[in-house]
Amino acid sequence: MTFTSPVLSYTLLSPMLILLGGALIGVLVEAFVSKAKRAVVQLTLALGVLSLALFQVWNIRGEQSISPAMGSIIIDGPAVLLQGSILIISIIAILLIADTEHFTALPAALPGSEEEREAIAMGAQVTEVYPLTLFAVAGMLMFPVAGDLITLFVALEMLSLPLYLMAGLSRRRRLASQESALKYFLLGSFSSAFFLFGAAYLYGFSGSLDFAGIQASVVGGGGNDVLLLIGMAFLSIGLLFKVGAVPFHSWAPDVYQGAPTPVTAFMAAATKVAAFGAMLRIYYTVFANAQWSWSPMLTGIAVITMLLGSLVAATQRDVKRMLAYSSIAHAGFLLTGVIALNKAGLDATIFYLFAYGVATVGAFAVVTLVRDSSGEVTDLNRWKGLGKRSPFAASTFAFFLLAFAGIPLTSGFIGKFSIFSAAYESGATGLVLVAILSSALAAFFYIRVIVLMFFSDATEDGTSVEMPSILTRSTIVVSAAITLVLGVYPTPLIDFISELAIFIR
């Protein structure tokens, strides 16, 4: 047996390679740089690496190749767009993560133990969070560009494992945080198992693990359709779990609530982009010819996801749980774009992902500002009268909520409009009506929060708004600015997307 050495196209792979390299250096920094300087060095490194990767993504826009890594990776227009979105969102989110106030001093210590008190007294910080973030981002970048099922799975694990860890790092309410990490880990592994199971069936169906081979079998027919259906169903479960679609959503509220808020922001926004990116590639190319068999299933899931997300969100008393359910509802809207299966749907979904991701980071950033002596205040009742206490926090949060609700002049409206019109164009009229109905439901609870903040009188219970550090503040300002600009003048981005967003096959 002869061994052919792999031919790699380093330029096209460079964004991922840069991140992995950066993450490894980050680990070394943990070991060798003194404690006092570590945080600054790590932050600078992470920002530098992310920006460099983004620069590389910009350089390779327009390139198309199915073999930068022997067919395991596919670089094309959508890949560049999705990687760019993930990187931009990560840069905004890392500024938020940099506010170390949110993280525990010593993750290994038991909550409330002597060790923990000592660590706090010593001023220890978890700077590991930076390399973890970089690893997760690398996995996210690989997820939507994977060209075979094995790479897809590796990417899935690469993005998930650091997130499981990061979810448990919260400084306050450590038990809840660790519980959420464990829950996320167990359910996540469960869904990974489903994913692998599906991959095995797809291999049985087509005799191939790479997308081109599976696609050829789907197009050619002749294979055993039962294997295809089972494989497709299980693979979809794995992906739907990551985006938090009903009925695979039950982890989302707990994890969103328990994880440190900056991590929630990062996870909610960037993971969604990555997972939907992979879904787009799989449904738009690999399974495109088997539309008859997945479209009804996804339609059903989209409908219950939108309705349940919007309905349950309205009953939440905790701001992070409310945002979690709202993100579930948004997953439903995004599925609408996947189901559309046309060019407009692809453009719209990518636009929506970016717009939603940015607004999500911004909204969670505001959540980190509202605090009392024992940490963040997430009980909505204590957000009463926020408009008076801090017009900055309240008005930016209201603005992000309006964007989620899809009010005109925010990016959310353009996103919703384009995704709904794409779905309508593909003939899914019923789905669009459900989507509009649940938008109306969703608008109700977003507005309720705005009422709480502006029109209710504050109760004196020690809730205060921390004046944010410059980093958090810039997260909020940048997110709000992007949300506004994309709402008022989205043309450049829309044109850019529609020019690039063509799958290589």
Partner: protein, 495 residues
């Protein structure tokens, strides 16, 4: 059109403490806008039924969305109405913002932003642009009601917003359908002229028509979509109520003419019988409930529901008199309601109560205020010689020629109007002075200046409405002709 926005920017940079400067800047801006509008009215070509003063810039070309504005006669009249009301509201409500949740400055910024949108919503010739403004203008109104109103202001603001949003989303569904169909037939567009060329099956047309109509019916409001209005109007400050009823609700009836009739002529005809019945119900229902109201602001709100019934009746009677009457009615209603609300607002702020029976004997204590209210009431019940009479008469004549039964039933609305206006006038203004009213102050100079133009407009248009009718008539005749109707009776043009 963007002038008020500039004003808003100016106001926003003024120091917070200097409330007077904010007010003056806002007032100056609204006056400047009014002057520009008058200039446009003078240069408007009356016989030209196409859009004038057209401006068009690409906004989101890949969706075929343009920032396109243009004005036809109907829009012109409504813009004129809005820009006249704006300075009056600013002047009349000089001290309105003080009891608010936020600063006086914010109040004027919101008012000016709202004025921009009011002009934009009437001028938009791109359906997408229209929708964007239609929805976006909810936000300033929401904060105006919720922040500067009285009583259950937060609840009323939310009710208003939810109703409007739901209506708006229905309209969005229809707009998306239009957009996709235009893509199939001749390339994606939102241009109203091009969209009116769309071919569609009658079922589709009916469904889309309903999407638009319900949104406008909520806005207008037509029975049974009206329940948000009394709450919102009663809780809002008087100036906001004037803008809400006088201008925002007109967007609903304006939309019926501009969008429902032009885009869906067939469906409009199909639904005419149902809509006419709803209109007649609105007229009578609003009037009956108005008679029963104890709260003066709710009373005015219910009279407006009755008036909007007349406007809707005129629009869907499908005669040119009906149409001209309806458009003129929109204009006149704005001023009679403005007069009612402003005077009522002054009465309430002086007396500290909004119950009708608390105002006994005002005529003796504050003659000018009492007479202004009486006069506004008379205009609202369409006394001959005042402007509302002309429009109400036109609507009824226009309806009668095609739908005599509806017209006759609607006429009872006028009788009821006499009741709902005269009873409170009698209770409140005449009769013995209610204890506590002895020391109320009469209108001051600023308030007199604010109310004077309203009174003048009501009287002048009552005797001599033809300048406006000359602008309106060619347009309405054209719309009716496009719909394929001809007037059944000899026309009633240019007296």
């Amino acid at each position: 059109m963007f002038l008020p926005l500039v004003g808003a920017a100016v106001v926003s940079v003024l120091p917070k403490a200097n409330e007077k400067a904010a007010k003056q800047a806002a007032f100056a801006t609204t006056i400047a806008v009014l002057l520009v509008t008058i200039g446009m009215v003078l240069s408007f070509e009356r016989e030209n039924v196409a859009f004038q003063f057209v401006e068009k810039y690409a906004w989101i070309p890949s969706f075929g969305i343009n920032f396109a504005v243009g004005i036809d006669a109907v829009a012109l009249v409504l813009i004129l109405m809005s820009t006249i009301l704006a300075p009056i509201v600013v002047l009349a409500g000089w001290n309105e913002a003080h009891g608010g949740r936020w600063s006086v400055k914010t109040f004027y910024i919101l008012i000016l932003v709202l004025e921009t949108m009011m002009i934009g919503v009437f001028a938009a010739t791109d359906v997408f642009l229209f929708y964007v403004i239609f929805e976006a203008m909810l936000i300033p109104v929401y904060f105006l009601i919720g922040g500067y109103g009285t009583g259950e202001r937060a609840a009323a603001a939310v009710k208003f917003l939810i109703y409007s949003l739901v209506g708006g989303l229905l309209m969005l569904a229809s707009i998306i359908a239009l957009y996709v169909m235009s893509g199939d037939q001749f390339g994606h567009t939102f241009d109203i002229n091009e969209l009116s060329q769309l071919q569609m099956s009658s079922t589709t047309q009916s469904l889309l028509f309903l999407g638009f109509f319900i949104a406008f019916a909520i806005k207008a409001p037509v029975w049974p979509f009206h329940t948000w209005l009394p709450d919102a109007a009663a809780s809002a400050s008087p100036g906001t109520s004037v803008l809400l009823l006088g201008v925002l609700d007109k967007v609903g009836t304006f939309g019926m003419i501009r969008y429902c009739l032009t885009l869906f002529p067939e469906a409009s005809k199909t639904f005419t019988p149902v809509i006419l019945i709803l209109a007649v119900i609105s007229i009578l229902y609003g009037a009956f409930l108005a008679i029963g109201q104890k709260d003066i602001k709710r009373l005015i709100a219910f009279t407006s529901i009755s008036h909007f019934g007349f406007i809707t009746l005129g629009i869907f009677a499908m005669t040119s008199q009906g149409h001209s009457g309806a458009v003129l009615y929109m204009f006149n209603h704005a001023f009679s309601t403005a007069a009612l609300f402003l005077v009522a607002g002054w009465m309430i702020s002086r007396r500290g109560s909004s119950t009708v029976s608390d105002f006994g004997g005002l005529q003796r204590v504050t003659p000018v205020m009492a007479w202004s209210f009486f006069f506004a009431g008379l205009s609202s019940l369409a006394l001959p010689g005042l402007s509302s009479f002309v429009s109400e008469f036109l609507v009824l004549v226009g309806t009668f020629t095609r739908y005599p039964v509806h017209a006759i039933i609607a006429t009872f609305g006028i009788v009821l109007a006499a009741l709902y206006i005269l009873i409170p006038v009698q209770k409140a203004l005449h009769g013995p002075t209610t204890p506590g009213n002895e020391n109320l102050k009469d209108l001051n100079l600023r308030e007199k200046i604010a109310i004077a133009p309203v009174v003048a407009i009501i009287v002048v248009l009552g005797f001599y409405p033809s300048p406006l009718l000359k602008i309106i008539n060619p347009a309405t005749t054209n719309i009716i002709a496009q719909l394929g109707f001809s007037d059944p009776a000899p026309s009633f043009e240019d007296k």
